[in-house]
Symmetry: C4
Subunit: 243 residues, 4 copies
Amino acid sequence: MGQALELVIASRTLAEHGVIDAYGHATVRSESDPQRYLMARNLAPELVTEPDILELDLDSRPVDAKGRALYQERFIHGEIYKARPDVMAIVHNHSPSVVPFACTGHALRPIFHMSAFVGLGVPSWDIRDAQAGSDMLVKTAYLGRHLAGCLGSHPAVLMRGHGSTVVAENLQRAVGRAIYLEMNARMQFQATLLAGPSGRIVFMDDAEVAANVSWQNYERSWNLWRTKALAKLEAERKGEATP
Amino acid sequence: MGQALELVIASRTLAEHGVIDAYGHATVRSESDPQRYLMARNLAPELVTEPDILELDLDSRPVDAKGRALYQERFIHGEIYKARPDVMAIVHNHSPSVVPFACTGHALRPIFHMSAFVGLGVPSWDIRDAQAGSDMLVKTAYLGRHLAGCLGSHPAVLMRGHGSTVVAENLQRAVGRAIYLEMNARMQFQATLLAGPSGRIVFMDDAEVAANVSWQNYERSWNLWRTKALAKLEAERKGEATP
Amino acid sequence: MGQALELVIASRTLAEHGVIDAYGHATVRSESDPQRYLMARNLAPELVTEPDILELDLDSRPVDAKGRALYQERFIHGEIYKARPDVMAIVHNHSPSVVPFACTGHALRPIFHMSAFVGLGVPSWDIRDAQAGSDMLVKTAYLGRHLAGCLGSHPAVLMRGHGSTVVAENLQRAVGRAIYLEMNARMQFQATLLAGPSGRIVFMDDAEVAANVSWQNYERSWNLWRTKALAKLEAERKGEATP
Amino acid sequence: MGQALELVIASRTLAEHGVIDAYGHATVRSESDPQRYLMARNLAPELVTEPDILELDLDSRPVDAKGRALYQERFIHGEIYKARPDVMAIVHNHSPSVVPFACTGHALRPIFHMSAFVGLGVPSWDIRDAQAGSDMLVKTAYLGRHLAGCLGSHPAVLMRGHGSTVVAENLQRAVGRAIYLEMNARMQFQATLLAGPSGRIVFMDDAEVAANVSWQNYERSWNLWRTKALAKLEAERKGEATP
């Protein structure tokens, strides 16, 4: 399957799971040229089809924009791909349960084995540390670099008042991590309230995290998501379904 | 696209997002006559089609009622349009996460960049300050004026035991604000519990609010909502979908 | 519209809103004989069609069972119809947000104008006060009478570890009340947490409750629910939709 | 109805209710050979059809794998069937509200009559007690036996950082219990917060639990779930629905 179609599937899956609404975006590094990445034109992810996928260089300039508008926050992706040669796919999103953690200084911890990657550390970034009085969007290379610096070698970074950015070695892992980051936040919120001020929560320990993360590619999920997205795309093509 | 069709799209989008159930209503000021506004006849928003759209003057009298029943709370709209020449669209709704804020004296604060307008101030109105023993509905010009007075120059006003009213310079912004007001309330509720009694929440500051609000028109969302609503309307016309 | 079809619409609407899953039931007192009431045979409410509607006397014996199994808890309905000549419709359900109130001794109070009837008082019934070691079901006339006694002249009664029973002067009002009882519980739960141990919540006062309850028939909602349910029934008949 | 089709219905019902996403699995002990059990090949439950059902022995080796990949955690099932001759069906799942209980040491208690079986005791298992530094998966016979030991004679066991495993004397009871275990956890979470640190919650007592559990087979639910699943399967076969 081509990378463009995979990116369509990823975009629609994230929308389907409520991880992305009209905003947020998934990208994948080009298999043929690691100095480029694929990203949809400026469009709500659940409307994306293959012809909407563009190629950008790592300075986030389109190779051929085909007259299409670009996402303003593409610099999140370009600058992370520059800083992290190991990263092959990125999801930026506003999943709702994550936001209350970043603005209260509560660190996400790995509470659920499907979210084990959280145990690799999820730092929290405040755009104010890079620029005072911003409109909160990462719309310059400078801000993208600053965010990438905070991400460091971690699998995800929270963005205060905004959402999160999740990275991985392949697209399906990035999508799975974005979905299960939200799930971890929901579970940790509930556990925090149950435990109370002096309460104790048993999180996954480092050895458990390492053992799980080493292989977790969300294969069975990806098979399900791909099956459903392809069926939906086919129905849209036949006019039997609407977006 | 005509204003009536835009209002149909707005009504259905608000229902789709759970911001409005059978109650609540969106209106838009007439482009051809700023002393008039467009509003559906008394009907659940998710059933509204173009022929249901009526024109009312700013005293909330229909220009031609066509024998149709009117929403009792139309005075919310007429009186705000009178008091606020800058306002071109209004959404009144009962989105569920907002109600617990108004009745506990917790002020909504801007916790999420998509809801930055909350930082312009969202006052809370108690109908008791205007009329004791009311049935809670804003069904007179007097109550509408009182509510408009509390709204002042702000983008939204909470209504104790009832819901909220959101205003904007155009319809898509009003719809976006209604949806993200609910989202802000959900996130702030969770952050408040996570932070605890003595906890600290980092909200957007005034400069961040100003920078974001200046351009935020929910363009990409509106494109998605319009696409989906038009497809649904077309399917209903063909008999391939039911309301 | 006949009472049987109205009851089908009510049953499906309650299922659609998550107020009833496979359990719970709506009934209506017969218009032609006030000593009888209409109730579906023992079937999940979202599967009910007109031929499933049976007539029972107030001792909850079927006039003609047509070989169909009956709901075990029909005595809830029969005994309330006996005790409350003003009651024309009853909904028994397990809506999830209500259960935590009954078992913690937190009284529901009217927090939302669509739920104003809560202000008429919603007592809480514990089946243990009638029978120790029961299986929690109201499956005898004795238990039905005991529950009716606790309900008294109120519009609803919570049932510890079980759910609630809601009554009204007509079917659409009973359905609306069941839906908005759940909504009130959700909002009051959130307000209680926001307010904290020593916090204050402004509920509707008695005059506001009286002014609202006097006319609230959920007319616009009922029109929406009926439109959607009839369209679904028609699609099922044509084989274009499945239950 | 054959056991394979029943297992398809169970799998899809669990997915439909959000109790299982792509992970988790239901199994049933073979009617013809109690030393064998039926389980789908390694596939997301909502995609399962009859040809995907395989037969395994109690050491969790497939009788004929037909070249299909197996679920890694099949040992949960095989080892419990060995240890518990009374158990005829098992559901392993990650339903989200259960996880915060296991990791905070809060025991689930029976708060809702549909979840009465919780009162038979739901122990909590920590995989660390069997193996340090695991990847959290029960993918060996040893781990399956250890889990079965913790389950003992109870109807369910929580798994720290993972989910739960639910057992019953027949498949529909196991499915019903998995769905209502999640519901019990949601209600108990809310009741715990409402009750506060020193608060009191009235749970079902032992006699009530015993009276309810003795007959509760979720018959009416199963009829609904089967009707809906069969209609969906038929529509998929005709190409009128996609997974």
